[in-house]
Amino acid sequence: MSGLLNFSSNMFVVAFFLYCAAFILFAVAIMGRRWSNRDPESHRRKWGNIAFGVSSLGLVLELTYFFTRWAGGGHIPVSNMYEFMSFLSMMVMVAFTVVYLIYRKTILGLFAVPITIIIMAYAAVFPQEVQPLIPSLQSYWLKIHVTMAAAGESFFAIAFAAGFMYLLRTVNFSSTDKKDRRQQRWVEIVFFSIILVISFIITVFAFRAAGYESVFTQTKASGTAGQTTSVTQTVEYKLPPIVAPYQSKIESYQPFLGMTKPLFSAPSWMNGINAGRKFNTIIWTVISGIILYGILRLIARKPLGRAASPFLDGIDPDDLDEISYRAIAIGFPIFTLGALIFAMIWAQVAWGRFWGWDPKEVWALICWLFYSAYLHLRLSRGWQGRQSSWLSVLGFLVVMFTLVGVNLVIAGLHSYAGTN
């Protein structure tokens, strides 16, 4: 790796820690309002400004990471999962900065900055080498299409943050009424989903730091009657195998907590070599997610939604609703241009068809249809506040599935190298 690329990776790490610091400072700005001998409003303003300053510095460093990697790698760093996710995290910060400058709501930082932190950490799960571009990616549309799409999506991330804040602010967490209970449960589910992502990242990094590895081989016979050829594939597990690939042999198994062989094999319909490994990762994520959630519940001694809602005391819910809507209104045209129109132009140039119902294309369309439905419901049917906040939360889930889920589960033409 050249010196420039090394410098670039360092900038990435420093930016990451600055965002973490900014998150803590935003928390101080919000929570410290009730500390003794101070005026809550001036405390919030002072610490909010410091926090915003730190997060902006982080953004400057992440931009430095981006442009130095561009210079060092010779092409715009949005061509694999690591690069795309870090770019997305950067755009979320840009979107946050834009919305923050419009509305000046300190509390927004407390919810938007963690999104960036999580996406950045998630990016670091993937291989970080600069890879040369395959012919289909050698186009200036790569720059335009991917960056614009990510910019639009990052505004949806801000809408998600504001929408979720609205819910935390307005759901009645002390009520035992059936309707309120349902709202509380869903808020808790959103928290749990976020925790799942965090625990996935933590688990991967913990075992990576420990240098864990087990290897399996799978031999598959293929071909028609008479002539059969068998192909043997190897798969490396970086997490202790609870589940082995379908019909596989253990090549090497590093014992973990007294476990010396997998507990069971993947079912027959998960017959791909990597399906078992992915299933294993999901099991680990769920286990560690439940543990992490349990720990947080023990600390908070109440559901996380109820524990988080006091942070939002004194915040005008209408403002949150408006921020969420405004973020979508800003992001929607950008998303349309970047993720659909530019995508169509590039597809026309590269593959000869502007639309081919590739899973990624379809999911971009699904996102677009979802937010169109949101806008119609809001503008013409008066869906506001709670309903539209839930939609903005759900919408971001759809966006994340489009960006991550499609690559991991469905793949197709847009599969990045190194997404395994």
Binding site: W351, G352, R353, I366, G412
Partner: protein, 563 residues
């Protein structure tokens, strides 16, 4: 008749204006028309400025009912959601068109088991071509047209004939309201205020004690512009299904050969195909030494010819004229008058084009001479020295059927074989049959000598032999190009551009209006915006501050819908 009379009676406002049936707010003064509505203090429903729409006609007939159905936003949202869910279903398993050569009736069952079989049986393996999906798109198209017409006309009417002086209730029931005493004389206050409002880009109309300020009205047309763009887009997409507007085929072009592009008057020659891979040092460390190959470039140097004469006469050679030359790469197709050629695939297996075998006497080794044998279109008769060779049979892909008879398995020249009848000195009068396999590997595999001996009841004294690679003409590679014509594309792009224009108009500007009137030294101000209430409150607070009225931005909020 009776009904109409009642309707007329109900829609006449106290200001004397006669409103059409279905009007919510008087078209002139903005006073609510419904009795109950007048007693309420709720924020007014300002959609389309309370104008009547066609879809609100009193006694709908059949056509009205269809109109009403498609003009409903609720129905439109349902259709959007259904399309969304349908699209999701289509991504569960790969669609049929992802594969070039499969039999879907067995493929899905074999690859994905029972779930795949059900998927195929439900027709989801071609979701996006299925009738219900297309129908949904067509219905969305209809909804786009009717929704827009139903709303844009009344909205246009409302916005082009606005009155300056509005009913007081119209103002106090806006979402942004301010009421309070003013010190100056009413006309003077209005005049001073209009200066400050104008500074913020508003067009201001005043009438004695009343004022109407408005800006960015064009933003209101945004949604309708989007819809027009979408309609053009959808029509263009549907038009691609019409014959003649769309062509899509994959054609193989062996290197160095001029080949006709089916169903066109064009021929294309693949001058040279190049594939390059990244070298080891270009790859990241992780990939090095792992035999991982990453392609860098696929390039076909192509020349396009147009046929000018003898195009449809198989007995004559067509006259070709070179019209275009292009290095076709991925992301850089050839484009000649709407005919496009995209790099799609390649095959590096060498293909035999012609050989120059010598006719040799097996015993003496005497060489009687050579002749050129073209693999694809061989001539029928050859003369070599004193011998004559007549081509009796040609097999592109030689094989033996279950009865031991020679057959050609595929039309591809994988294992070409030629059956000659040779006549000449020292041969029987009727000649000998001679099988010739130009490829050494086939010659051994099919035991050429044994076949020939068996056919003639003894060894043949002659032999065809290619002496050296100089007598072999190979096409080193084949490029596969995707040949396309898409005449509807310009309309697709125009539609997309209009959508984008509408999005920008509608989302990045907001139509803002401020009404105010002063009655007996008391100011009543109401304001409305299509979006961004936060912004208009801030603006009005700033304007009022200029007029020495200190107000909290938030206190201007009168509640109600934040659309």
């Amino acid at each position: 008749m009776m009904k109409e009379v009642i309707a007329f009676k109900n829609t006449k406002c106290e200001c004397g204006h006669q409103n059409p049936v279905g009007t919510v707010l008087c078209e002139a003064c903005g006073r609510p028309l419904e009795e109950q509505d007048r007693e309420s203090n709720e924020v007014l429903e300002m959609r389309y400025d309370g104008m009547a729409r066609r879809s609100q006609r009193a006694n709908p007939n059949f056509i009205d009912r269809i109109w009403n159905f498609f003009s409903s936003v609720k129905i439109a949202v349902y259709m959007i959601i259904l399309t969304l869910l349908g699209s999701m279903l289509g991504t569960i398993f790969p669609q049929e068109n992802t594969f070039l050569n499969i039999d879907p009736s067995t493929y899905y069952k074999e690859t994905y088991g029972t779930a795949g079989w059900i998927y195929y049986k439900l027709g989801l393996s071609h979701t996006y071509e299925s009738w219900w999906f297309i129908l949904l798109l067509v219905m969305i198209g209809a909804s786009l047209v009717i929704c827009s017409l139903d709303r844009v006309l009344p909205l246009y009417k409302a916005l082009t004939k606005q009155r300056i002086l509005k009913h007081k209730q119209f103002l106090t029931r806006q979402r942004v309201v301010y009421q309070g005493p003013v010190e100056l004389e009413s006309k003077e206050w209005v005049e001073q205020a209009s200066v400050h409002i104008k500074k913020r880009g508003y067009r201001v109309h005043t009438l004695d004690n009343a004022l109407l300020a408005e800006k960015y009205r064009f933003s209101r047309w945004g949604p309708y512009v989007i819809h027009i763009g979408l309609i053009i887009f959808l029509l263009a997409v549907l038009a691609r299904g019409l014959p003649g507007l769309h062509m899509d085929q994959h054609v193989a072009f062996p290197e160095g050969e001029i080949k006709h592009i089916p169903n066109t008057s064009y021929y294309l020659k693949n001058e040279k195909f190049t594939v390059e891979y990244y070298s080891e040092q270009d790859l990241p460390k992780e990939f090095q030494g792992k035999n991982k190959v990453l392609p860098k470039l696929f390039k076909t140097q192509a020349t396009l010819y147009e046929c000018t004469a003898n195009c449809n006469d198989p007995s004559k050679q067509p006259t070709l004229k070179a019209v275009d030359h292009h290095n076709i790469e991925v992301n850089d197709p050839m484009d000649y008058k709407g005919l496009k050629a995209y790099q799609f695939d390649y095959d590096l297996t060498p293909v035999l084009r012609s050989v120059k075998p010598s006719l040799v006497d097996k015993k003496t080794g005497k060489d009687y001479g050579t002749f050129q044998l073209k693999i694809k279109d061989p001539e029928r008769n050859y003369k070599v020295g004193p011998y004559s060779l007549e081509l009796k049979e040609k097999y592109n892909d030689f094989g033996l059927d279950e009865n031991g008879q020679p057959v050609t398995k595929t039309p591809n020249p994988n294992a070409p074989a030629f059956l000659f009848l040779i006549k000449g000195p020292n041969l029987p009068a009727e000649g000998v049959h001679y099988f010739y396999f130009p490829k050494q590997i086939d010659k051994e595999r099919f035991q050429q000598d044994a076949i020939n001996a068996k056919m003639n009841g003894g060894s043949v004294p002659l032999e065809l032999d290619v002496k050296g690679m100089g007598n072999v003409d190979l096409s080193m590679s084949t490029t596969y190009l995707n040949i396309r014509v898409d005449k509807a594309m310009p309309f697709v792009w125009v539609g997309a551009a209009i959508v984008m224009l509408g999005l920008i108009l509608g989302f990045y500007w907001q139509h803002r209006r401020i009404w105010l009137r002063i009655d007996d030294g008391n100011l009543t101000l109401g304001a409305h915006t299509s979006k961004n209430w936060f912004g208009i409150r801030r603006e009005i607070a700033a304007i009022l501050r200029k007029m020495n009225l200190e107000v909290d931005e938030k206190s201007l909020d009168n509640g109600g819908n934040h659309s």
